[in-house]
Symmetry: C2
Amino acid sequence: MEPHSHFPAIVAFYRTHRRMPTYREIMRMAGFRSTNAAAKLVKKLLAAHLIQQDDAGRLLPSRYFSEIRLLGTVEAGIPAPAEEVHLDTINLETHLIRNPQATYLLRVQGESMIDAGILPGDAVLVERRKEAKTGDIVIAEVDGEWTMKVFRKRGRRVLLEPANPHFPTIVPKQHLRIAAVVIAVIRTYPT
Amino acid sequence: MEPHSHFPAIVAFYRTHRRMPTYREIMRMAGFRSTNAAAKLVKKLLAAHLIQQDDAGRLLPSRYFSEIRLLGTVEAGIPAPAEEVHLDTINLETHLIRNPQATYLLRVQGESMIDAGILPGDAVLVERRKEAKTGDIVIAEVDGEWTMKVFRKRGRRVLLEPANPHFPTIVPKQHLRIAAVVIAVIRTYPT
DNA sequence: CTTGACAGTGAACATCTGTTCACCCTACCC
DNA sequence: GGGTAGGGTGAACAGATGTTCACTGTCAAG
């Protein structure tokens, strides 16, 4: 039995148990009767970089445990399922979210950011943050109203610019509180 | 020290180490000098359903490790962290992806879909599918070229429409192969 | 002051963990 | 046939792991 043939079972174990299997569990899954057989299998999977290990020898999932296969550009097309073996993969969530405790999903109303490709109905992933830098898209409370705009600092002044010429640039009069910065836009299409 | 104040550190540990911490590691993170203190902390986190445990006592991540808190619209604003308790949450990956085996991430080149809010550099989540219905955004191979366009059926004819008036509508002459349908657009902003 | 709840210490224990050793068996090559 | 590499067995071991016990200090309520 080739060592890689047991890899899908390990991935499945990780998904259902939310942890990596132990050597004993790998042994049982593969039908071995000795943990040494599992250890040798693990050594091969390690050499193939299909799984990883920490300093204490504990098994860790590799990037191959994430679900999404990464292709090139649209123009490069989509390969046949058989050629998928070598595809790079990413974990969508770790790729999008750096600070999970401070991350939220908001729905967009209105067309004020339409030229930045943010349409009504889109979802925006935002990270709670009090500071922003020029060019960031921020969620802010200005003079009592919540809004999403592009943050710009002009010298000492702060501007909140829409991405739509039909909307006015906001110059905060009294109160500006930056609550969050947009880190991603997510638009889903009905299937 | 409140027990929940240590929870973010545990989540951070899980994300960087790709496994749950042991009781000793929780002990060190919290500054305790007895594993019993960590065990008591864990008991409280278990009672609050912030973490989970398997049959052998091993710690497992709960949904709070991977789920995003869901707010309303931008105009409704972002509540203070204290009011977060009742927020609904979703898992980003399960929310976006219905059929993981057939789902891929592609990068967008060109501006042909810009009026649909799909900009160059965006990522599109696509699901391998051979059929499409009018209005779907499809990845298709037309007369030897790969392209992303809006699929439209006009009677017996099939049109592939761009979302940009400067680009031509494609009328497949010989060969049209639909490879995938766009199920989501994801745009990330540099932090 | 007394009481009780709570949080943390220190130590112990049975079990599980990754790792390693010697060994067996089979298949293949020269 | 002889040799060798590879995959598997069985057993052992040191260290790590979750759990538990008795105990100490603190602090607020009565």
